[in-house]
Symmetry: C3
Subunit: 338 residues, 3 copies
Amino acid sequence: MDFRGAHIISVQQFQRSDVERIFSVADSMEPFARRKQVSKALDGAILGNMFFEPSTRTRVSFGCAFNMLGGHVRETAEAGASSITKGESLYDTARVISGYSDIIVMRHPRAGSVAEFAEASRVPVINGGDGVNEHPSQALLDLYTIRKELESRQRNIDGMRIGMVGDLKHGRTVHSLSRLLRLYRDITFNLISPKQLRMTAEIVSELRQAGHTVIETEDMARGLHDNDTIYLTRIQEERFASRLEADVYRGRFRLNQAIYTRHCQPNTVIMHPMPRDTRAEANELDEDLNQHPNLAIFRQADNGVLVRMALFALVLDVVDQAPRQVQEAGWYTGRRFE
Amino acid sequence: MDFRGAHIISVQQFQRSDVERIFSVADSMEPFARRKQVSKALDGAILGNMFFEPSTRTRVSFGCAFNMLGGHVRETAEAGASSITKGESLYDTARVISGYSDIIVMRHPRAGSVAEFAEASRVPVINGGDGVNEHPSQALLDLYTIRKELESRQRNIDGMRIGMVGDLKHGRTVHSLSRLLRLYRDITFNLISPKQLRMTAEIVSELRQAGHTVIETEDMARGLHDNDTIYLTRIQEERFASRLEADVYRGRFRLNQAIYTRHCQPNTVIMHPMPRDTRAEANELDEDLNQHPNLAIFRQADNGVLVRMALFALVLDVVDQAPRQVQEAGWYTGRRFE
Amino acid sequence: MDFRGAHIISVQQFQRSDVERIFSVADSMEPFARRKQVSKALDGAILGNMFFEPSTRTRVSFGCAFNMLGGHVRETAEAGASSITKGESLYDTARVISGYSDIIVMRHPRAGSVAEFAEASRVPVINGGDGVNEHPSQALLDLYTIRKELESRQRNIDGMRIGMVGDLKHGRTVHSLSRLLRLYRDITFNLISPKQLRMTAEIVSELRQAGHTVIETEDMARGLHDNDTIYLTRIQEERFASRLEADVYRGRFRLNQAIYTRHCQPNTVIMHPMPRDTRAEANELDEDLNQHPNLAIFRQADNGVLVRMALFALVLDVVDQAPRQVQEAGWYTGRRFE
């Protein structure tokens, strides 16, 4: 695809070559994200960071990514404050707000809203999450993390085995990640979930048609034992008939140090889309793994900045300028990646 | 007036020459707003964008205007979060906050609050809307739009005919716009509203004393037929005795493609202060006009950035520096004004 | 202490020499805060201004201080919007958010939360207030103000007499200020409060052990008459058995022009942590003193920017660069310190 001036709405718009282009640009953003250098490629540009649903982390991640390329950020985080609640159409909002900035990131609770907004916008729009539908930068950072983690272990995405655990029916992140992985070759999906929360038949069928292996199981031990990466998601109690039933499942779809050591191969990467719920009644990924070298969840979050910088640089066509318009970071940056 | 260091609180503080000065500076801001060039005239300056009442669009418009001149923006959008709610006086708030920034834009729900705040402020204050009272940058962008739209049709503000439609009694925007138009010559005001929502007698009398023609009517067809510009506002159902009565009026004070074609002269400019309520029960300006070349509502919004840049440049005295401290915009800006 | 890369969590971490270092750096920030010059020392750096509890003034003060050194500010002001409310641990939040920025200011309603957050953070953290516990930049700006006010009156902190008035039991600011003053020599504390709201025994004992004089009284007249500075705080009605009792105390622990003139020495500096409650039923510091030259409360707020700039410059190690990477402020700054 031609990224220049494009909207980034869905993972479905990417070919494998597009994904690889994004990742190669993300790699080139490392010196800026690690604060060794400051880029001025977007000096004077303005991001409209429009969050019509709260999401501190995603909002700040996009904003920082834009700042790291030298741009200004204007934003909203006020769910109820928008004119949208006063009966304004998304068309009007888009036409107006796109007159203020050079690019927009939009998050909105309604599925399809960002695509509708983008159609009326006069500047490129990046989907920051539209309800149950899509959150493409999350899927990209997940896959980018897999690529990086596997490469450092001398493996590749092609031929990899991934275990997905938890609520695979409602989880937006596992859906989008699966659709990106589909672009690669010969992947084994170990889908581990209660029967009620199985991956949608549509996605399973898409993956099989693309030549991948899909194994569905309710047995955590069986699903965990043969993976390069496991990707955990939250088990949502409210999906079950009773708390008692939820308790049963909760106990069976958690990962902690003991379960990891017993069932996973020693080098298995552990991922989670965050936030993880560390309250006792949830705790799908135990904090006793916090110091484990294979726990990649914080590297995942760091990678989000790189991937978002890459999207901005590609869409605004400053990939080549980013490494040229630089200066050294003159302040203390020593503790960052200790 | 001397704009340098001045507070911008009310349209009543302007002479015609002041308005024309603002518009001429706004014209000179085009290259920055269209992202052909980046200005650094306010590099290092700080705007305190203090919104004590939600208004995403106005807040972001002011913030972007300041960024386009190179400045930083610090802001609040938290209605209830301010110390004002803890019993702090506006005097104290103004004295403190004016120590943080170089200029303040303030929006507040109470009429008169911004003037009171400005009196205690140690930096210039621009009124971003004080309740039912004033919103001078809106009136200026409305008039600037009229000027631009008429000029592109080889007409002038002097001698123009404007139709104002809807709730003319409570509409802050039509009041302020009328008071700016009063500074010009020989204007015909076609004031179209239900009897209950007529323009205040005070303003009608001011306009007539200044030599303008004011025609008041409840008859939409009659009011529409002889204008250069029509300015629509929302009919507020809650002002009527019953929903039934409101229904009657609602049907009579709407504009859509059919009504426009039947009653307006072919080149009549269509304006609205936005947001327009596109829900079926309101819909004072129908979306079937969205592609109409005379629909100026989105150009109106774009002009808001120019006018706000002009106010910042005038008050902070960087009008001459803005076009000198520039660099080319290095990123993709192609879709903006397609 | 070595400020480079350090967390600033508590006034207890400072020696007298540290406080004096901060103040001397704060002095050097004057040309930037007064907008004579613009510093680019932090050009490209990013502050994560994370306010998980509303505090417009403190948030904006930190943000402006960072802007005045040339840096970007990303922030949150959404109390309930954070993942923290979805069961995320402070550890996770800190690990993730510290990947986005170069330094974090954090405010949070729970005592101890900022220290916990800092432990997991990969970048330096400054405590912007953690509930009833600490707000070190407030204590520093209070003491910095005392130093400046006394110096302009040819006095010093050593040997000074300070009257603290109001709720000395619960007031976070008087506790922290006392602990900073303890580092100096031979100070007389006149602690003026109702019996129920006396300074905690622990702090009184610390002060006495350090060789200072502590006089506790319920008698406003007696407490006021022999001070270089008086520091007022709010009397909190809700602490008393009845409104009637509160009324009695309220009347006795207020300062206004008449009381000041009758009981204070002519050159006594008047301070207050702000916001002051100017409603009739509170009004601990009357507005009839607003024009009094010894009223230092607005200078206090201004000093907050200097002290926060100093903390950023010290922790990010750009103290020497700040005055070198400058340009002249090119815009109108005339009204600021009239």
